[in-house]
Amino acid sequence: MSDNLEINIEEIIQKIREEIQEKGYKETDLSFQDIPIPEISLSPSAQALSVSPDDLGKVLDYLSANYEHDILMPVSASNPLSGLVKKAVRKVVRFLFYPVLAQQNAVNGGVIGVLNILAERYEGEQKAEQTIRELQERVEKLEAELRGLRISASENEGTGEA
C-alpha cells in the first residue's frame, strides 16, 4: 500500500472506542453461545405434501438445503460383501448416472435460485399489500377527520364564531 494512502485505522478505532464509552453503548447480554443448536427434522415427504403460504419459507429452506444429489454418498450395507457388491455396481453404472445427476443438480440449483427470487418478490408483494391496506385505512381515517373538520368549519361559519 502506498504511504500516501495509509489510513491510521487504530487512531479511528480509538476515537470510536471513546465515543462508545461516552455514549454508554452496551454490549448485549445475549451471546450466540446461549442459543441452542436446533435439531433439523424436515422430511421431504412431509414438506412436499402440504405447502401452505405460511410454510413457504420452511419448504424453501428445505429445498435450498437439499437440491443437490450427493453423487458420492456413502454406500450402506449390512455386511462387507454386499457393501463390496454395491460399490462395484455403483462403479459400473457411474458413467450412466454421474452426468445425469450433474445435470439434474444444475437444473435443481437453477430452479431453487429462481424460487428464492420469486419468494422474495412474493414477500415483497405481501408487504406492499399490507402497506396499501394501512395506507387505505389512513386515507379513510384522514378523510373522516377532514369531513368532520369541514362540518365544524361550516357550523362555525354559520354561527359566526372566530
Binding site: 479511528i12 450466540f32 458420492l72 450433474a102 444444475a106 435460485g113
Partner: protein, 363 residues
C-alpha cells in the same frame, strides 16, 4: 507434453472451479495441450472444457498434472499413482472443529481433507498456494518441496454482467443503508458476529439499515437454524438470508451494498473481499487467517474481534464521505495487485520454471 488439471468437483461459480477454468483458458491461449479432469462436473460447463476423471488418458512421465487440493476426496490418494510431474495448487481445507457441533459429514470431510493433504506431502514436486497463509499451512503439514504463492484467478469481467432487476427494484432507494456479506452460511464464516455487529449498528447508529447474508446454507442447516434463532432472540429486524441464489441476484446484492462486513474466522484466501472491492464497496473485516493478507492494508481491517467496534466503523465509513473515499482508494490500489493479467503471467512463469527444472518426471 500435456498439462492437465485435476480436481474432485468442477463447479461453475465457485472459487476453485473459476480458478481451474481461468487457468484452462490461459493455458490454451498460450499453446499448451490441456484439459480439465474431474470426478464431478457441473452440467453448465461445456463438454469440450472438462472430462470425467475416469476418461483421463494415461499420462506420460513428462506430462504435468496441476492438482487442485482443497478437500477430502479419494482423488488425494489416487494422485501419487498417476504418471507425470505433479504440481499441487492448494486452496486450503477448513479445520474440522468448525463443523463439529453442526454436521458430522462436513466434519469428517474436513478430517479426511487434512489426512489427504498430509498424505500428499511427499508426492508434490512443487506447490502453488493461494496465500502465504496457505503456504504456511502446507509447511506445517510436512511439505518440503518449493512452494510459491499465487492468488486465485478471479473472473472480474463476470461482475460487470447485469444484476437482477427485481432485487434492485425491491431494495433500492428508501434511504436504507445496506450491509452485505457474501459467502456460504458456515460456522467458520462466523455470520453470528456479522449479525451481532449489525444489531449494534441498527440499535446505536442507524435504525434504517438492512443486513443481507448472501449464500447457500446447504449442509449447514443446524448452524443456519441457530443463526435464525439468534436473530429472533436479539429482536433485530431487517436481516435477510438469501439462501442459494442466481449469480445475477448476487450481483444485485453487491450493487445494493453500502458496506461489506466480513467477520470470518477462517479463510484460505477470501474471494468476496476482492469482489466487494471490485464493486467499490468499503470493506470492514476482522483480520484473521488469510483475510489480513488479502486485504493487504486496504479497507478497514480490525485486529480484534469486536462487534461493537465493527458497528462504529461501519457508521464511520457510511457517514464520513472523506474517510469512505480514502478507504475506497486503498481498495482500488489493492485490487490492482490481483489483476488477472499479472497473476496469469506469474503462473506461466512458475509453470515454465517448473517444467525446465523438472525435465524428467518419475512415476
Amino acid at each position: 507434453m500435456r498439462v492437465v488439471q485435476l480436481l474432485t468437483t468442477l463447479r461453475y461459480g465457485d472459487g476453485v472451479g473459476n480458478d481451474a477454468l481461468a487457468l484452462d483458458g490461459l493455458l490454451k491461449k498460450n499453446g499448451y495441450d490441456t484439459m480439465i479432469y474431474a470426478e464431478n462436473i457441473d452440467a453448465r460447463i461445456a463438454p469440450e472444457t472438462a472430462r470425467y476423471f475416469d476418461k483421463m488418458p494415461r499420462l506420460g512421465r513428462n506430462d504435468v498434472i496441476l492438482y487442485h487440493l482443497s478437500t477430502g476426496t479419494q482423488l488425494n490418494y489416487k494422485l501419487p499413482g498417476l504418471r507425470g510431474r505433479k504440481i499441487i495448487i492448494y486452496h486450503n481445507n477448513t479445520p474440522p472443529q468448525w463443523f463439529a457441533p453442526y454436521d458430522r459429514k462436513a466434519e469428517n470431510l474436513a478430517v479426511h481433507g487434512i489426512k489427504g493433504i498430509e498424505y500428499l506431502a511427499g508426492t508434490a514436486q512443487y506447490c502453488l498456494a493461494d496465500s502465504a497463509f496457505n503456504k504456511e499451512d502446507l509447511l506445517q503439514k510436512g511439505y518440503r518441496c518449493r512452494i510459491d504463492v499465487l492468488p486465485i484467478l478471479i473472473p472480474f469481467d463476470d461482475y460487470r454482467k447485469t444484476p437482477d432487476a427485481g432485487i434492485l427494484k425491491k431494495y433500492r432507494g428508501g434511504g436504507y443503508t445496506n450491509i452485505v456479506f457474501t459467502g456460504r452460511i458456515a460456522p467458520n464464516k462466523r455470520q453470528e458476529d456479522v449479525i451481532e455487529a449489525f444489531f449494534y449498528y441498527k440499535k446505536y447508529y442507524n435504525p434504517k439499515s438492512r443486513l443481507f447474508l448472501v449464500g447457500s446454507y446447504k449442509g449447514m442447516e443446524r448452524y443456519y437454524g441457530r443463526l435464525r434463532d439468534y436473530v429472533e432472540r436479539l429482536g433485530v429486524k431487517d436481516v435477510h438470508f438469501t439462501g442459494h441464489i442466481s449469480f445475477s441476484a448476487i450481483l444485485a446484492y453487491y450493487a445494493l451494498a453500502d458496506v461489506f462486513l466480513c467477520m470470518s474466522g477462517h479463510e484460505g484466501f477470501c474471494i468476496p473481499l476482492l469482489e466487494a472491492m471490485s464493486f467499490d464497496i468499503p470493506v470492514v473485516a476482522c483480520c484473521e487467517t488469510a483475510v489480513t493478507e488479502t486485504l493487504g492494508g486496504s479497507g478497514i481491517g480490525m485486529k480484534e474481534r469486536n462487534t461493537l467496534l465493527a458497528a462504529g466503523l461501519m457508521d464511520r465509513v457510511v457517514t464520513d464521505r472523506e474517510f469512505r473515499e480514502r478507504v475506497l482508494e486503498t481498495q482500488r490500489e489493492r485490487l490492482a495487485d490481483f489483476d488477472n493479467q499479472k497473476t496469469g503471467e506469474k503462473f506461466l512463469s512458475y509453470l515454465e520454471n517448473f517444467i525446465r527444472q523438472n525435465k524428467r518426471g518419475y512415476r
